[in-house]
Symmetry: C2
Amino acid sequence: MKTYFECIPCFLRQTLEAARLTTDDETIHEQVFREVLRVASKINLRESPPVMAQRIHRLIRQMTGDNDPYRDIKDRFNNFALELYSELKERIKRSREPLDTAIRLAIAGNIIDAGVNYHIKETQVHNAIEHALTAPLAGDPKQFREAVSEAKDILYLADNAGEIVFDRLLIEQMPFEKITLVVKGSPVINDACLADARATGIANLVEVIDNGSDAPGTILGECSEGFKRRFENADLIIAKGQGNYETLSDVKKDIFFVLKAKCPVIAQHIGCEVGSLVFLRSARGKDYGKGGDRNAMG
Amino acid sequence: MKTYFECIPCFLRQTLEAARLTTDDETIHEQVFREVLRVASKINLRESPPVMAQRIHRLIRQMTGDNDPYRDIKDRFNNFALELYSELKERIKRSREPLDTAIRLAIAGNIIDAGVNYHIKETQVHNAIEHALTAPLAGDPKQFREAVSEAKDILYLADNAGEIVFDRLLIEQMPFEKITLVVKGSPVINDACLADARATGIANLVEVIDNGSDAPGTILGECSEGFKRRFENADLIIAKGQGNYETLSDVKKDIFFVLKAKCPVIAQHIGCEVGSLVFLRSARGKDYGKGGDRNAMG
């Protein structure tokens, strides 16, 4: 997905939030803000939004010397989600369609996105859970069940800290021995890294690898050779969140995009309303029956 | 009032809206957008927001060759407000405090601000009217009545087309022979110009002059010598809208700022909630009893 003009004000908001999170020094806020405006004036709109976001957050880390500005938010939401874990697991168990319920909860967890809403509150997570359990789901869990059943090697691309507890609930409803969870190589916004996978116990359930990148999404060209090989060889990808949709929507691979559409640009790109529960298979995935090349990368 | 970082995303939104209003050519949209980002990266934050807005709208007019992109919106809201005129005049006449009601309606009319909300709908104007008639008014109509009564030469700085019909309703409740209405020298956003004062009949009631400027506010250094003299000599200024507040809030003069606070930056600067009815006297105005210099300019 390309970058739209409408993404720029959002980048600027994120810039201010991250800069203020890192330092009270207004001179640095101003330096970062002006530099982002300068870079934005030359932005390549054919690149996906996480390319610019990656650049912004690198700049903030460099200019402030803080390597992980969102560490507190990540810890807070890892702990909060862990407090919810048992109750949500019970709700899945008691539900008529456990896999469907687990998918819905995984989407609800995608509300914990500090890139979109840095002021995210615990009550908003509760609201997202109740919404997700009843709102329409744009996608077909049955098709997903079949694809998972056929696949031998599944990569689950995580999005944010806290949210990965919700991912754990979904993975527990799947043949998890076939699944590898992928986190980011180093901190960017509140995206999950290895530390978060360990802190939330998901690393005890499945293999966890990192993608070697600090982009808030999966920019394949930027990832480690090891991850790219794993991506190439996997026969099913589950991609969580907006950043992974933005960076992988044009990649020729069987991908299920699992996210809550939180911004108007993405909602329009997908063709849904803001707030929708998205559970979308890539075009390449849908082509399967027609003899498509399962492992081609875009 | 200075420009805040938070103003920049709003400038970008306005840039896109105005560019799209003027042409369907996406190459021009992109050129304008990039140029505004470049200029914004070097912005002098000590200047008021209308300085940047003036620059943006000049740029759009130059790059598109359209001298008045908001002409249709201005005509539409002039006509719409004229349709409401008789009914609103009747409501003022029947009310217990006609001047208070007229002030409230003048503030309601300030919702017709295409800089803040280009997609403004007629129903929003109806809603703003009903809200204004009952919501708290931050200011003292009694003090206003006294100041108007004492003044010999009053300048009423208009804001937008359509809105000036609401201003006419207020001016009709005042000793209008002492009042001169001031409009912009040439088109910028949907600010009222001489053509709008004529189209809405207010030019038949009071003297109308223009300020010689294309800024969406009153940047005194940019205005014509004639207007500056009138401003200097006037003993009371009524300044409508956010743009006039932003450009005159630091000027040493007896000014009543009459506006609806529509953006969080201005609301915070004034110390009120977004949506509030603002009817605020300048510090210099409040100093009167202490022997302040009535005509000093900031």
